[in-house]
């Protein structure tokens, strides 16, 4: 590809812009930090648009490739590129960032520059994760992405933020240590290469594949998160500020799932097939078990956090049934979940900013005082429950179709989300939005302002557009997913 190094721009523009924002310094300059951060975030989104516009849907090869030496001694390269699996996540990430900046516009009054900078830097780093084709580069980005989130929770979080931040950090760090060992093993096996594309072609014995698979599993399962390593997520969400929850749910959870597609499946395809039963079982537990747990939550953020875990169960399920409907459905579900869970957390943020409570029991009858907000909340709740014509339906539908094809009973178990997802989401809506005005506090609520309307409106449009016309999304994936599945089907012992 000629022209601008688009992927580098997507990574470094927000990072450098973030550092500039940081340089505005103390809160007396917050009036400068905010618009600057928004400008950087919007620019960061704009530079990713050519990635979609110029994307060739006919090939499964990496596109927009950039390749430079980084540490020649260890054959480590600054190697970037995207295919149909990764490109959409860079777009999603860059789309969410301006919304997050806007969401923190008024609420964050303490350490504004640092707050904005953390999100911008994190956005760039996560683009790096999706674009990296060199394992060391990937690993560095993957690990470093923890730090801004750790700070966001630790510095702007709720009363229990230290426990939550620590739990978050510990869980994810322990997981990735095993990945590091796996990467070093592969480095030696491949004759000193850190190129992911080389590793995809590497012949490995089933035993070694199994160990590799398990090492990656621990790292990625924590991130997704899969049952039973999911308990950090509800705590992290509850303590995180709204923006942190949005990025965590919308983007960070996707890193683990992306790892399965970039590492586990292509590097250890035989082990993936051997252990598919385990992955399917864990995924279905996430869908069903977590669905029931979500039902009884009394804290809105916890409820949505559990709902996220359940929805991510659909993603991992889709990956390991090895058919195009499943994998593409899972990818669609990841994008949609980015919109929907992000929007749900923003909605809770809107309420929290006014009432300083996330307890469902403190609300009731919100529609009487915030009808515009209630309409948005209803839409996102329906998307969360997988209603057709919203993005939430598309992925679930495709994965369920793929699952029924794979095995009727697996489809059966997965489809219970139709009932469970509707139950926990709409029961919350009933208690929060509907009913008579529950307290004097609710009676005094003011409806969303123009800024909040713009944020929720952008997400609402995305949710509806993707639900009504997901074709542009699935179209991008075909070549890469087909190639991946062909690759996985061939033994490489």
């Amino acid at each position: 590809m000629s022209g601008l190094p688009l992927l580098s721009l997507a990574i470094w523009l927000p990072v450098i812009g973030g550092l500039l924002v940081l340089a505005t310094g103390a809160d007396r300059n917050a009036g400068l930090a905010r618009p600057l951060a928004l400008a950087v975030a919007v620019a960061g989104f704009l530079v990713t648009l050519p990635l979609y516009a110029g994307f060739d849907t006919q090939t499964s090869a990496m596109q927009f490739v950039e390749m430079r030496d980084w540490i020649p001694r260890f054959n480590i390269h600054y190697h970037l590129g995207v295919d149909g699996i990764s490109v959409l996540f860079i777009l999603l990430n860059s789309f969410i960032t301006p919304l997050v900046v806007l969401a923190g516009w008024k609420v964050i009054e303490d350490k504004v520059a640092q707050y904005m900078a953390a999100f911008l830097v994190m956005s760039g780093i996560m683009n790096g994760i999706f674009a990296a084709l060199d394992a060391v580069l990937f690993y560095v980005f993957f690990e470093v992405s923890l730090i801004p989130m750790y700070i966001i929770i630790g510095a702007w979080g709720g009363p229990n933020r230290v426990y939550a931040a620590f739990k978050f950090f510990l869980y994810t760090l322990l997981g990735s240590l095993l990945m590091l060992i796996a990467l070093i093993y592969l480095f030696f096996q491949s004759g000193f290469s850190f190129s992911l594309l080389d590793w995809h072609e590497l012949k490995i014995t089933l035993t070694a594949q199994t160990w590799l698979f398990l090492a990656f599993l621990v790292a990625f399962a924590v991130k997704v998160p899969m049952w039973p390593v999911h308990t950090w997520l509800p705590d992290a969400h509850v303590e995180a500020p709204t923006g942190g929850s949005v990025v965590l749910a919308a983007i960070m959870l996707k890193l683990g799932a992306y790892g399965f597609l970039r590492f586990s499946l292509p590097i250890a395809p035989d082990a993936s097939r051997e252990l598919a039963w385990l992955m399917i079982a864990l995924s279905l537990i996430a869908v069903v078990y977590i669905g029931f747990v979500a039902l009884v939550q009394t804290d809105m953020k916890k409820l949505i956090a559990y709902s996220s875990i359940s929805h991510m169960g659909f993603v991992t399920l889709g990956f390991f049934i090895f058919n195009p409907l499943g994998v593409e459905g899972a990818l669609v579900q990841m994008i949609s979940h980015g919109f929907v869970s992000g929007a749900m957390f923003l909605c809770v943020g809107v309420l929290y900013d006014r009432m300083h409570s996330r307890q469902i029991a403190d609300y009731g009858g919100v529609v009487n005082t915030m009808p515009k907000f209630a309409a948005f909340f209803m839409l996102f709740a329906m998307a969360n429950a997988g209603l057709p014509a919203t993005s939430g339906f598309v992925g679930e539908f495709m994965v369920i179709l793929g699952a029924v094809k794979y095995n009727f009973w697996i489809g059966f178990a997965a489809a219970t989300t139709l009932i469970l997802g509707a139950a926990y989401t709409l029961w919350m809506v009933k208690r929060v939005v509907f009913g008579a005005v529950a307290s004097p506090h609710v009676a005094e609520l003011s409806d969303i302002d123009a800024r909040e309307f713009a944020i929720l409106g952008a997400l609402a449009l995305s949710v509806m557009a993707m639900g009504l016309y997901p074709f542009p999304f699935t179209e991008v994936m075909h070549a890469s997913v087909d190639n991946l599945l062909r690759h996985v089907a061939v033994p490489k012992l």
Binding site: I125, P228, V404, G411, A436, D447, F471
Partner: protein
């Protein structure tokens, strides 16, 4: 074949446009603007449907895609329209009833602000919102019936469910309304769960979701076996059809998924007529008729259908006889009539089911809208024990409701007679296993139907005027919001409703009288539906009936000598005796019948059981998994256990740390890059 009717797209889009305008610009265009724009949208849609009907009646079938929604795994998911006789019939019925309901709503919701607390912002434009919703419903229902594939069918299926949810809970300040709408949505989701699995099986084995592709492969489905339980192979087509029918059981409120429909009466009465009587609840009937090429290949599925239908037809009718809320009587009557339609499907008499669907849409809309008219006149009183003698005060409502009741009970020559009698006759001739059982139940149901229909008429419109008596029991359901002023509780003198209410009643009463007479010949025996409905040669019910059919007049004369007529008459006579001649008797009978009355009043205990077992059980399980699994096992034992170890290490490391974590964590990010590069490149 693959041709798009030039007007087809505008049929659903016209009501959608109305809904969007009224929904988003409701405040700007005002109340009159909202009801005009939405009514106009539906009127345009009705007119276009009529033009399309002319073309389809000329023998044409339109089947074409509008756009490709998505593609994956070799399946192209499309949005498209199939317009044949079956579709166009539904389009006309839906649009006609919808237009009547739009007009009626102008009167019914005229004082809706009384139903909201004075300071509620949601109450400010509730009138406009209501019109937006019913037009959105019309759009969704049209998308459902016009679909040429399973994906869009499911779209419409869930979309009508959504609007139904929004409308049942329209008066969202009432606890009963928001309980009912959640219940309706979840019970429907149980049905959709089965429906989606059926669609999944179709996609897996046919590789397409387009009706025409799937029907072309129906023989393959009928010759494939799958072993859902190892060792017991099932015909694939049976599994598919039963899964699809579970969807129909949710939407069309068939036993045991019927429980949501009576509660849905919490919604404003116009939508009870439109959604929960005339159109949405018949989506299941329409769907099974549409799928006749599949259902015909599965005797197991047909038996399942006929038994479920007959149980619904009879046992739900029984509950109607103990209800005192005027809307709930009509609601249970709707359940029973839906059961009749389902029974007809099981007997392979799809055209009879569709015929009853159409006539029922008219006469049940009349009954609901008539009940609504009474409710307005009674200042939102729904309890029939506080009515009586209303016929003097509201003659038009009385006459139209009487026509509705006559049709509902199946008296010749009203519309319901032709359609219901056809169903009974078809089941009589049916060879489906379970048809004998079904025949007995639906015959008995005719007596019950005659009874509850005329119990309503006599109880509400005849006899003593009880509305002047002082109130001593709880207020009716269709009542004001909690904070609304309750000013008018004294004796009321009911009066006839305004013309926007009575004109739709009259316009719907006309087809309730003549539709059966006019339509039975072509609809049932004249091959009206053409290729849209497929009946296997080994299911002869309709063919046998056709041989016996000698015109509508002949059917009426013959009908007077058959058992169903006398059963209905006996039912009506019993109602007359109990509610006109000896109004003291019902209470005595109720006391004497003890357990039996209790069972009916408890609606066989379904609500109680579901609340206890499903709602309670799910919460119990969720709490168990959360506290026991997540908190105790995973967090308590594993995570915090390791955290303690780490915490101990950290307490040592902490000596090296201090100050502002965010500051030097940022330097960590940069540091990692710099150090890696420098250190590793130093050689």
């Amino acid at each position: 074949m693959s041709e798009m009717h030039p007007l087809a797209l505008y049929v659903p889009l016209a009501p959608l446009a109305g809904a969007l305008v009224a929904g988003f610009f409701g405040r700007a265009i005002g109340r009159a603007g909202a009801h005009w724009v939405t009514s106009l949208g539906v009127a345009v849609s009705l007119l276009l449907s009529w033009f399309i009907f002319q073309d389809v009646d000329g023998g044409k079938i339109y089947n074409a895609a509008v756009y490709t929604w998505a593609s994956s795994g070799g399946i192209s998911f499309q949005v498209g329209f199939l317009i044949d006789k079956l579709t166009v019939t539904m389009m006309l019925v839906v649009n006609f009833v919808s237009l009547m309901v739009h007009i009626y709503t102008i009167g019914y919701m005229a004082h809706d602000e009384d139903n909201w607390p004075a300071d509620s912002l949601a109450g400010r434009n509730s009138y406009q919102r209501f019109f937006a919703y019913i037009s959105l419903f019309t759009f969704s229902m049209l998308m459902l019936v016009m679909s040429n594939n399973f994906l869009q069918l499911f779209f419409g299926w869930e979309a009508v469910g959504l609007v139904s949810y929004l409308l049942i809970g329209f008066w969202s300040n009432r606890p009963t309304a928001i309980y009912a709408n959640l219940k309706a949505f979840l019970v429907n989701r149980v049905g959709d769960f089965g429906f989606l699995l059926g669609i999944g099986l179709i996609a897996a084995y046919c590789g397409s979701l387009s009706y025409s592709d799937v029907f072309a492969l129906s023989q393959k489905l009928a010759s494939t076996h799958i072993e859902l339980i190892p060792g017991s192979p099932w015909l694939l087509v049976s599994v598919v059809c039963i899964c699809l029918f579970i969807g129909a059981m949710g939407k069309s409120a068939q036993f045991p998924l019927h429980v949501w429909l009576p509660d849905s009466m919490e919604g404003p009465t116009p939508i009870s007529a439109l959604i929960h009587a005339a159109t949405m609840v018949t989506a299941g009937i329409f769907m099974v008729s549409r799928m006749s090429p599949l259902f015909e290949l599965s005797d197991a599925a047909l038996s399942f259908v006929i038994v479920i239908g007959a149980i619904t037809a009879f046992f739900m009718a029984l509950i109607a006889i103990v209800q005192t809320d005027i809307k709930r009587v009509v609601a249970y009557s709707t359940l029973s009539q839906l059961g009749y339609m389902t029974t007809a499907l099981g007997a392979s008499a799809y055209s009879a089911a569709m015929f009853h669907l159409a006539t029922h849409a008219f006469f049940k809309a009349v009954l609901f809208l008539g009940a609504g008219s009474v409710i307005i006149a009674m200042h939102h009183e729904q309890d029939m024990r506080r009515m009586g003698g209303l016929r003097k005060y509201m003659p038009i409502t009385y006459l139209t409701v009487l026509i509705g009741a006559l049709a509902n009970a199946g008296f010749p020559p009203f519309a319901g007679f032709f359609s219901k009698d056809s169903i009974i006759e078809a089941v009589h001739h049916s060879t489906t296993a379970g048809a004998g059982f079904a025949y007995a139940l639906i015959l008995a149901g005719v007596f019950v139907g005659g009874f509850y229909s005329f119990r309503l008429v006599f109880f509400a419109f005849h006899g003593k005027e009880r509305f002047r008596e002082p109130s001593h029991d709880a207020h009716g359901h269709d009542a004001h919001g909690h904070d609304a002023p309750h000013g008018h509780h004294g004796p009321v003198t009911p009066h006839e409703s305004p013309w926007v209410v009575t004109v739709p009643l009259i316009l719907l009463a006309i087809p309730s009288v003549i539709a059966g007479w006019a339509m039975i010949g072509p609809a049932l025996f004249g091959n009206y539906f053409g290729g849209a409905i497929f009946i296997a040669p080994e299911h002869p019910a309709i063919a046998k009936m056709a041989a016996d059919f000698h015109g509508a007049m002949g059917m009426v004369l013959h009908g007077l000598m058959t058992l169903p007529f006398w059963l209905a008459l006996a039912g009506a006579a019993t109602a007359w005796y109990l509610y006109i001649v000896r109004p003291d008797l019902p209470a005595v009978i109720k006391d004497k019948s003890g357990v039996l009355a209790r069972i009916l009043e408890e609606k066989y205990g379904f609500d109680r059981f579901n609340d206890w077992f499903f709602a309670g059980g799910a919460r119990l399980l969720g709490r168990g998994l959360w506290k026991g699994g997540d908190q105790t096992l995973i967090d308590g034992l594993v995570v915090n256990g390791s955290a303690k170890v780490v915490g101990w290490i950290a307490s040592i490391v902490r000596l090296f740390q201090s100050g502002y974590i965010y500051q030097y964590a940022f330097s960590m990010i940069i540091g990692v890059f710099v150090l890696l590069t420098l250190w590793m490149n130093r050689a």
